[in-house]
Amino acid sequence: MRLRPVAGIVLRQLYLFRSSPVRLLPTFAWVTIDIVIWGFLSRYLNNIAGNHLNFVPNLLGVVLFWDFFTRIMQGVTTSFFEDVWSRNFLNLFASPLSISEYVTGLVLTSVLTSLIGLMAMLILATLVFGLSFASMGLMLIPFVLVLFLFGIALGITASAMVLRLGPASEWLVWPMPALISPFVGVYYPISTLPPWMRAVGHLFPPSYVFEGLRALMNGEVFSATTLLSGAALALAQLVLAGYLFARVFRYTVKTGLLARYSAESVG
C-alpha cells in the first residue's frame, strides 16, 4: 500500500472542511445538541431520584459513546459520498489508486474527524455536566476501540451498499445507527429486551460495549472475556466489510456500473 494516495484521500476531505465550514456541522453541532439535551435530562432525573442514582454516567456517558460510534461510521460514509456527489469515481478509479488505499483513506479521514468530535464532546460533558470516566481508567480504551472497529465496518458496508445500489440508496445509510440502537442496549440493559431482540443484539459489537460500560459505571463485575468477544466480532466484521467492498467494486467494474455511475444511475 502506498502512502501518497492515502494522504490524497485525507487531504481532499481536509480541503473540503477548510473551504466549507458547513461540513463541520455534524462533527460539532449535532453532538453538542445531544450532549446538552441528555445532560440536562440526566440532571433533571438526578433531581427527582434524589441521591439514590446518578444518571449522568448512565445516560450522558452512553450517549457520548453512541455519538462517537455514529460519527465514526458517518465519517467513512460522508467521505465516500463526496465522491458520489461530485461524480468522481471515473477520475479516481481510472488511476493507480487501489481499493485498499481508497478505503484506508476513508477510514483515516473518519478517525481524524471523529476523534476531534469525541474531544469536543468529552470537554463539554465534563465541564458542564461533570461527567467523569476516571473510574473506568484504561478500560475506556477497549470500549472505544470496539466501537471504532464496528463503526468503520458499518461505514464500509454502507459505502459498498451505495456503490452497488446507486446514489439514491444514500437515504438508507443515514438511519442505520438508529435502526441498530434498540438492539444493542444503548439506553437500557440487554436483559430488558425479548429473547429474539437479545439474540439480534449480540450480533452487534456495541451491545458488549454498552453492557460493559453500564456494569463498570455501577461498580459491578464485568467479564473481560465478553468484551474480547465483542472485539473479535468487530474485527471479523471489519474484515468482512473490506471483502464486501472489494467484491462490490469488482462487480461494478464487470457490469459497467462504475463507468456509468452518476445521479441518474439509481438502481
Binding site: 501518497r4 484521500i9 463526496e82 461530485s86 481510472a94 488511476s95 493507480p96 464487470k254 459497467g256 462504475l258
Partner: protein, 271 residues
C-alpha cells in the same frame, strides 16, 4: 446512390512494436444479449496520435473505459506500456491518464487543490514543482484558487488536461476533449496536445466527432461502428482511397452503412 463502402470483414490487428504504448488485442464486451465491443484490436505507438472515430453508441467510450480499467472486458487483453491492465492494474494505470468531458474534476475543490489531490493519487514525486509547471503551461495562474465548479467549459478543459498530464503519461486518452470549446479555444487545445505528444513522447488516443479536428491532429484513425473497427488509416488519405471527398463524408457513410462489409485485400483494409 453511392456504392457501398468496401470494409474489413476481419478484425484489424496491428502488430505490437517496441514503441507500442497501448496494445489492445481481441477486445470484446457484451451485456446480456447486447455486444458493445467485438474483437477490437489495435496499437498506439509513442509520439503517435490515433483518432478513435464512430457514431454515438459505436463503442468508443466502452473501449476507453476498458483501457482505463473501470470496465472489465468480456474477452481480450489490454497492455499499457507492456503491462497487462487486468493482471497489474495499478502499475498499468500509473502509465496512463485521461481527460473526458463527462469526467469533470470535483467542482468543490480549487484548481490547485484538484491538481494536488490527483497528484497524490498518482503518487507524483516533486509534486509542487510539477503543479507549478502545469499551471503555467495551461494558463491557469489566475485561476489556481478558483473552484473548478465555477470555471467556464474551456477553463475546465484546461484543468482536466493539466490533471491528465500530472504523471507524464506514456498513454494519454482524450475523449472529446474539445467538445465544449469555442473554435479559438479548441484550436489552442489541439496545438497544445500536438506539442505535448512530441515533447512528452507519449501516445495519444483521441475521440472526436469533429472531422476537421481529426484531420488536423491525428496521424492515424480507426473507424468504429457497432463495436467493430471497420477502417484504419491516414485521415488525409482515407477519403480518396474510398471514393469520397472528405473525412466527414466518409464518417457519414460509415455511420449509415456500417454493415455493408465486403471482402477486401489487406492493403484496402488499412486505406
Amino acid at each position: 446512390m453511392p456504392a457501398a463502402l468496401h470494409l474489413s470483414p476481419e478484425p484489424i490487428t496491428s502488430p505490437a512494436q517496441p514503441d507500442t504504448v497501448l496494445g489492445v488485442t481481441g477486445l470484446c464486451k457484451s451485456y446480456a444479449q447486447v455486444t458493445a465491443v467485438e474483437h477490437v484490436s489495435f496499437n498506439v505507438q509513442r509520439n503517435e496520435i490515433v483518432g478513435l472515430l464512430g457514431p454515438n453508441g459505436a463503442g468508443k467510450t466502452t473501449t476507453i473505459n476498458m483501457i482505463l480499467g473501470v470496465l472489465a472486458p468480456t474477452r481480450g487483453a489490454i497492455a499499457i506500456g507492456g503491462i497487462d491492465v487486468a493482471k497489474r492494474r495499478s502499475q498499468a494505470l500509473a502509465r496512463t491518464n485521461f481527460a473526458a468531458v463527462y469526467a469533470t474534476l470535483p467542482g468543490n475543490l480549487t484548481v490547485e487543490q484538484n491538481l494536488r489531490f490527483f497528484g497524490l493519487i498518482y503518487g507524483i514525486t516533486k509534486l509542487a514543482s510539477r503543479i507549478e509547471t502545469l499551471i503555467a503551461q495551461f494558463d491557469l495562474v489566475h485561476l489556481r484558487h478558483t473552484r473548478c465548479g465555477v470555471l467556464s467549459s474551456g477553463e475546465q478543459t484546461r484543468v482536466a488536461l493539466a490533471k491528465a498530464l500530472l504523471n507524464r503519461p506514456e498513454l494519454l486518452l482524450l475523449d472529446e476533449p474539445t467538445a465544449s470549446l469555442d473554435p479559438a479555444a479548441a484550436q489552442t487545445v489541439r496545438k497544445q496536445i500536438r506539442e505535448l505528444a512530441k515533447q512528452e513522447s507519449c501516445g495519444i488516443l483521441w475521440t472526436s466527432h469533429n472531422m476537421y479536428e481529426v484531420e488536423e491532429v491525428c496521424d492515424r484513425v480507426l473507424f468504429v461502428s457497432h463495436g467493430r473497427i471497420l477502417l484504419e488509416g491516414d485521415p488525409r488519405a482515407l477519403p480518396a482511397a474510398h471514393g469520397v471527398h472528405s473525412l466527414e463524408e466518409l464518417f457519414i457513410r460509415l455511420a449509415r452503412e456500417p454493415l455493408h462489409v465486403g471482402s477486401v485485400s489487406p492493403e484496402e483494409r488499412s486505406g
